[in-house]
């Protein structure tokens, strides 16, 4: 389902009306670009897959003494990176005046969600052997960075589910409103990272700066839009 949505294969083609075949898919530059972006976003996952394979073949060979934790951090890191990248699409399309960039957003968002969901699955795995109540204690009601991360994931779930065109149509203007959940989700993901940092704040500072810039661009964009609207009304 993910790869279909990501590659944009098997969806109605809008006005183009080209045949929905793979050959057709490679026909347009946009399709090629989409495939390239898809592969780039899949690359960290593929590399992880190779390491996991090496690790399974020979335990201790790929990740050092604490493989689960390594995989957990790797997935979390890529999750937040791709999430921020997804949030950068709209500002980039405005600044570069390339509205077609928005066509990459769904695929990127779904990849971010995939990394983050897998990150959570590995977290549960890392708690294996613990009584279930401990998982509950850690993730649900204990004051801990895990809780904030969990909230970020929970907010992203409806976005992933409603990412299809069908849901977009079904929800109408509500879709846009719903998908604003990505802002608190990204913020929660950042707090999660900041909260678990210890002694060294390079990552949260860099990601925080990026997040702040992306938020600032949106605020500026909104203010300008309102001003333009006000000017148009006055005129």
């Amino acid at each position: 389902m993910l790869s279909k949505a990501g590659l944009g294969i098997g969806r109605p083609q809008g006005s183009s009306g080209r045949p929905r075949t793979l050959a057709g898919a490679f026909g347009s530059p946009l399709r090629v670009a989409k495939l390239v972006v898809f592969c780039l976003l899949a690359l960290p996952m593929a590399l992880l897959g190779v390491d996991v394979w090496r690790e399974v073949a020979q335990p201790g060979s790929a990740f050092g003494p604490d493989p689960t934790e390594e995989v957990l951090h790797y997935l979390g890191q890529w999750g937040i990176r791709i999430l921020l990248l997804t949030l950068a699409v709209s500002p980039a399309s405005r600044l570069l005046r390339k509205p077609q960039l928005v066509r990459f957003r769904r695929m990127m968002g779904l990849w971010a969600f995939s990394y983050i969901a897998l990150h959570f699955a590995v977290y549960l795995l890392s708690k294996a052997g613990n009584p279930f109540e401990l998982i509950l204690k850690d993730t649900l009601y204990k004051v801990s960075f895990a809780v904030v991360g969990f909230y970020a994931l929970v907010m992203l779930i409806p976005l992933a589910i409603t990412s299809t065109r069908r849901w977009q149509r079904r929800l109408g203007p509500g879709w846009r409103k719903l998908h604003r959940l990505v802002y608190p989700a990204a913020f929660a993901a950042w707090v999660h990272l900041l909260w678990l940092s210890k002694g060294d704040f390079m990552d949260p500072l860099i990601y925080g700066l990026v997040l702040a810039l992306l938020f600032a661009e949106r605020i500026v964009f909104r203010i300008r839009k309102e001003r333009r609207a006000a000017a148009a009304n006055a005129g």
């Binding site: 201790g60 003494p65 995989v71 204690k137 204990k142 004051v143 210890k198 060294d200 390079m202």
Partner: protein, 320 residues
């Protein structure tokens, strides 16, 4: 201050005959191991001459019935923020540190303060192997065979005064060779400082280590001399010590200064007092595998019940 009578030595601390018998063999083996390590690391990376440990008699440690962490894991997965915050950073960058020559300054409430070279300091001190659990505050643990000697033996050389209530330890501060100390993003106020109460330092379990796995300490593990306090979280076991100060007042240890709600002065391993951000009830015992995190229950004082008497009447929830 009460000085404990010698009767405190537990039967388990007395070397069994079988161990005694294997002592000569162990010495031969550790000698060859140390020599092998020296050729790998190169003489500049070791704090003491390579032959030094080989020439010393080391009393073998008692097995604790738990699987020992592999040497490669214990020397490649380290928290030593002086070289970077990633677990692999110390192994990558600690070779940049020169540990020869090395002197330790002993000051404060002692009759005979002074600076002393490592080799002089260790002359006349018997070395022994101690197989200890190491429980990190981050909820992972290892089992490591250290080579060292009781902290008390060194401190007594300098004759503490009656005002000596605490011992403060300092790590080397040398940004030119410790890249973590040059990091712009580090929130730590170097040098790293740790401390113990005098009775804790005098406890026979508290040791200074100069070696591990039959060899001299690798730089990433705190060469050439480090503290090992097995009943406390790992951050108490300060590495690459250059200064020991005996004080009247409780030292301000680095992590406590940085984050007082999360890291106390005592830092005793305690499954009942959680870190504000995670549970301390269990730990990941290395090595773990991808699908088996090897989670085990954390024990009070890391299983070293003999230290419990040090904390009688102390509220360990408050003094964490």
């Amino acid at each position: 201050m009460l000085i404990k009578p010698a009767a405190d030595i537990r039967p388990s601390e007395i070397t069994p005959e079988s161990v005694y018998r294997s002592r000569r063999r162990f010495m031969r083996e550790s000698g060859t191991l140390a020599a092998g390590a020296a050729t790998l690391v190169g003489t500049s990376a070791v704090g003491l001459p390579a032959e030094w440990l080989a020439a010393r008699e080391v009393k073998p440690g008692e097995p604790i019935g738990e699987q020992m962490t592999s040497e490669s894991d214990a020397t490649s997965y380290n928290n030593f923020y002086e070289f970077g915050t990633d677990k692999g950073d110390p192994a990558k960058y600690a070779h940049e540190l020169t540990v020869d020559p090395w002197t330790v300054k002993v000051t404060g409430q002692v009759e005979k303060p002074g600076k002393i070279g490592l080799e002089d300091m260790l002359s006349g001190i018997d070395l022994e192997e101690r197989i200890y659990r190491l429980r990190c505050v981050e909820a992972w643990s290892m089992v490591i065979p250290w080579i060292g000697f009781p902290v008390k033996k060194l401190i007594d050389k300098f004759q503490p005064t009656s005002d000596a209530k605490y011992v403060e330890f300092k790590t080397l501060h040398r940004p030119s060779e410790m890249r973590g100390q040059r990091s712009f993003f580090s929130s730590i106020d170097w040098p790293y400082v740790e401390g113990l109460r005098m009775d804790e330092a005098n406890h026979p379990l508290a040791i200074f280590a100069v070696g591990m796995y039959g060899k001299l300490l690798p730089n990433q593990n705190g060469a050439p001399i480090r503290l090992v306090v097995p009943w406390k979280y790992g951050f108490k076991s300060i590495k690459s010590i250059v200064e020991i100060r005996l004080t009247k007042l409780q030292p301000k240890n680095t992590w406590n200064v940085l984050q007082p709600t999360e890291y106390g002065f005592y830092a005793n391993v305690n499954p009942n007092v959680d870190h504000p951000r995670w549970s301390q009830a269990s730990e990941r015992r290395f090595p773990t595998t991808l699908f088996k995190p090897n989670r085990i229950a954390t024990r009070m004082f890391n299983g070293y019940d003999e230290v419990a008497s040090l904390y009688k009447g102390l509220d360990l929830t408050r003094y964490y």
